[in-house]
């Protein structure tokens, strides 16, 4: 608490000191500025695992295929075309010609081969390599001439093209350097630890606009390291930063209110891929008493609890309507894969009690008791420090009290939660966030396969514990091997249906993507997919002296 107060003091001090700094920060009129939450841990794109590193890599490196964040369609980048063969085992790229790296060296198939060979080198421990490692076997790359490369997977991968959106291409001639030349719109110019990362325009960038003008339009991008959201908002309000991604609802509302309702900078982009979910522990070997195991393994019980939760209240009270009731693993933000026939479980306490009665639960005074007379009380663990999540838990607590269920909320530090849900299984229910970075269900094999490590409610089963989990296994395998997108879609639609019926996860809310975009920023096309506002960084423009800075000068 004391540290918090100290933080408060620091922020206030910084707020006072800012206007003076502002004058110096205004060095280039055509420089985009936004905040990183921390220093990038690496400038080697193959080693990045943290968001700041990913941001730098996204802006400085090119990929073969890009997922267009607006249309969610694949879009040729460094590869002009590609062909998937051998039932999804191989992909052959035709590379763009006449492209040069930021250091002027030409881009050829050698660079692609070099990139994938380095990435798959087990000594490097590249986090990206994991997504390319199907069934444990390595993925290989070889050139078929100067502008053609084939990547071979050990087993068929459905929708494998999308993986290449995550694979930045390095220069073979600059092996060993950490900050290697890239094929992105910007290049690393300066890094001051704890302060900023400065990117300059890559004058060798290959893209041109419709008029033939070379991109990017911006001269530079300054990534300011601002460790704190409040400070970030303050600096945005003063015109020092041009955009904020991933605002939470409270900050968003505050920003909208400060702008006097003219929400030209606070933008709600609609449903994102992120939400909150809760699940019950169904692990047979868990240290829970048998009667509780029986509750949690009952579909009626889980469905009843889900229906006793007022999701509309959650979205209204905690997210101030910048969220919608959670439906399933994907929201409507995922244009292709979302099963639009599904609805969120409606709030219906009477129906919940009816379902519970099917299992022999009944009311005894204000309490709900099970068939053998145990009062229904359970705990939900969640991570400490996430205020909106704690509020979600408190609201569920009151909702469940209505049907006589006692919920104890236990906030724990993250490592303890991980230990409990992956090793000791000493928990009853768990409430955590749901983050999807990948649009394709293949990325969720580990979640839905009963043998999966991330099959949270009952991980790493030898054989599926229930018939519906067996069916999930089949459907997931099917969508992973099937190449016809329509058939894949049908299989995954059924997965979403089963999940909605069997309720292994209680999807609570689906959050909207909330951003702040300076009016000075042009050509914006904010997307609900990461990296929201700056995904089309090469075509963003900045209007000369922003209106915000004039206001500041008058103060």
């Amino acid at each position: 608490m004391i540290r918090r107060l100290f933080l408060l003091a620091t922020i206030l001090a910084a707020a006072v000191a800012l206007p003076a700094r502002y004058a110096f920060a205004q060095t280039s009129n055509n420089e985009l500025r936004f905040a990183l939450r921390a220093d990038p841990k690496t400038f080697n794109p193959l080693l990045m695992a943290d968001e700041p590193s990913e941001t730098v890599s996204y802006l400085t490196h090119g990929v073969l295929i890009r997922i267009n964040r607006a249309t969610q369609q694949l879009q040729p980048e460094l590869a002009t075309s590609w062909k998937v063969t051998e039932g999804g085992r191989k992909i052959t790229f035709t590379l763009r010609q006449g492209v040069t790296f930021s250091d002027g060296t030409p881009f050829t198939s050698a660079d692609v081969v070099y990139t994938f060979t380095s990435m798959m080198d087990p000594k490097l421990h590249s986090p990206i390599a994991d997504t390319f490692q199907v069934d444990g076997g390595p993925t290989t790359a070889h050139a078929n001439g100067k502008y053609e490369v084939t990547i071979a997977f050990p087993a068929p991968v459905a929708g494998l093209e999308r993986l290449f959106d995550q694979a930045p291409i390095l220069s073979a001639s600059a092996s060993g350097k950490e900050a290697s030349p890239g094929l992105g719109p910007f290049m690393l110019a300066e890094y001051k630890a704890g302060n900023y990362v400065l990117l300059h325009r890559n004058s060798h960038y290959w893209k041109h606009d419709a008029q033939g003008k070379q991109l990017p339009y911006l001269d530079a991008v300054r990534l300011e390291i601002v460790p704190n959201r409040d400070l970030e908002m303050l600096r945005f309000a003063q015109g020092e930063l041009h955009l904020i991604n991933n605002l939470d609802a409270d900050s968003f509302e505050r920003m909208a209110a400060q702008n006097g309702g003219a929400s030209n900078s606070a933008r709600d982009l609609g449903p994102s891929l992120e939400g909150e979910q809760m699940w019950f522990n169904q692990v047979a070997a868990s240290p829970l008493p048998d009667y509780k195991k029986a509750w949690f393994r009952s579909t009626n019980f889980r469905r009843a609890i889900s229906g006793a939760i007022n999701r509309h209240d959650l979205t209204r009270v905690v997210y101030q309507n910048h969220a919608s009731p959670g439906v399933g693993p994907f929201s409507s933000a995922n244009k292709f894969w979302f099963n639009a026939n599904l609805k969120a479980h409606p709030y219906d306490p009477a129906d919940a009690l009816r379902r519970l009665q099917l299992d022999g639960f009944h009311k005894s005074g204000p309490d709900l008791v099970d068939a053998s007379g145990h009062v229904v009380e359970f705990s939900v663990i969640t991570n400490a420090g996430n205020q909106s999540r704690e509020r979600v838990a408190a609201m569920i607590q009151q909702d469940l009290k209505q049907i006589g269920v006692h919920l104890n909320i236990v906030t724990l530090d993250f490592p303890s939660i991980i230990t409990r849900i992956t090793q000791s299984f000493d928990y009853e229910a768990c409430l955590l966030g749901l983050v999807n970075v990948d649009l394709d269900p293949s990325a969720q094999m580990n979640v839905w396969m009963s043998s999966g490590e991330n099959h949270q409610w009952n991980p790493a089963q030898k054989t599926p514990a229930t018939a519906w989990e067996a069916e999930l296994d089949q459907l997931m395998k099917k969508q992973a091997t099937e190449l016809d997108p329509a058939k894949r879609k049908a299989a995954f639609d059924r997965v979403q249906e089963i999940v909605s019926e069997q309720v292994p996860f209680l999807y609570l809310v689906n959050k909207n993507a909330l951003t702040a975009v300076s009016p000075a920023l042009g050509n914006t096309q904010p997307s609900v997919l990461r990296p929201q506002v700056y995904w089309n960084a090469e075509t963003l423009t900045l209007a000369a002296p922003a209106a915000g800075s004039k206001q500041l000068a008058m103060k």
């Binding site: 608490m1 004391i2 540290r3 918090r4 933080l7 408060l8 922020i11 206030l12 959201r229 409040d230 908002m233 409270d250 900050s251 505050r254 400060q258 209240d313 209204r316 009270v317 905690v318 009380e377 359970f378 705990s379 663990i381 991570n383 400490a384 420090g385 704690e390 509020r391 838990a393 408190a394 609201m395 607590q397 009151q398 104890n408 909320i409 236990v410 906030t411 724990l412 530090d413 303890s416 000493d426 928990y427 009853e428």
Partner: protein, 275 residues
Amino acid sequence: MTRTMARAILVLTFLAAILAPWIAPRAYDHQYRQAVNASPSSQFPLGADNLGRDRLSRLLEGARVSLLLAPAAAALAVLLAAIVGILSAYLGGVWDRLIMGAVDLLLALPWLFLLLAVRAVLPLNVAPRLSVTLTFLLLGALGWAAPARVVRAQVRALLDSDFLLQARALGISPARVLTRQLPPNVAPVLLAQFCVSVPAFVLAEASLGLLGLGVSEPLPSLGSLLRDLESLPALHASLFQQAPMEMAAMLAPAAFLVLVICSFQLAFPQQEICS
């Protein structure tokens, strides 16, 4: 005069804390979901919090939790500190060095991890009231090391004092010196340590809450209510002018805590012997 007033305030706050369930206008945990963030009104004298719960009722309940448990924890800590501090100073020499070494070690231990470990072995289905009681007792059981140093220093000074020398010169036995002559002189230090520990524990409980070790929903404590202030820096300064009532309502728990702490300091005689 000030002292009388401080004492009156203390009595009133403690009465309010004890009687919270009877005098609170509403249930502290009921969420009036149509009144989320409601401004102060006759229905919600201090407004409603971000889940629509009555702020005044929560303040009273929070005071009840913190003002009954923090003094208990402080008393425990000070009692342990008195025993260790007096023994260490009186035994002197090797014992003194051994005991103070142990105290230093204790102060240097990464308490957070120990507390986390303790939380890890607690059962999950613990009633909020019980878990917050345990938290405070833990704070008390662990919080004695720093006051023990102060007590020891004070006792060392007392043992060198003229009046204890005079007492010995009068033939008064060591046992009598230890039980009759020394304690009334250590008492002001203990009282001071107690007064310092109470607010420290209230705040410690608040920061433990960030680690999931403090009070759990829906029960409030003064500490957990203070956590609401974290969103203050983000609140624009103009809010002071636009909505002074809301600001005042938000600051109520902090103001209340400051009032109680100040009253604590003023209610008891100032000690001549400061350490």
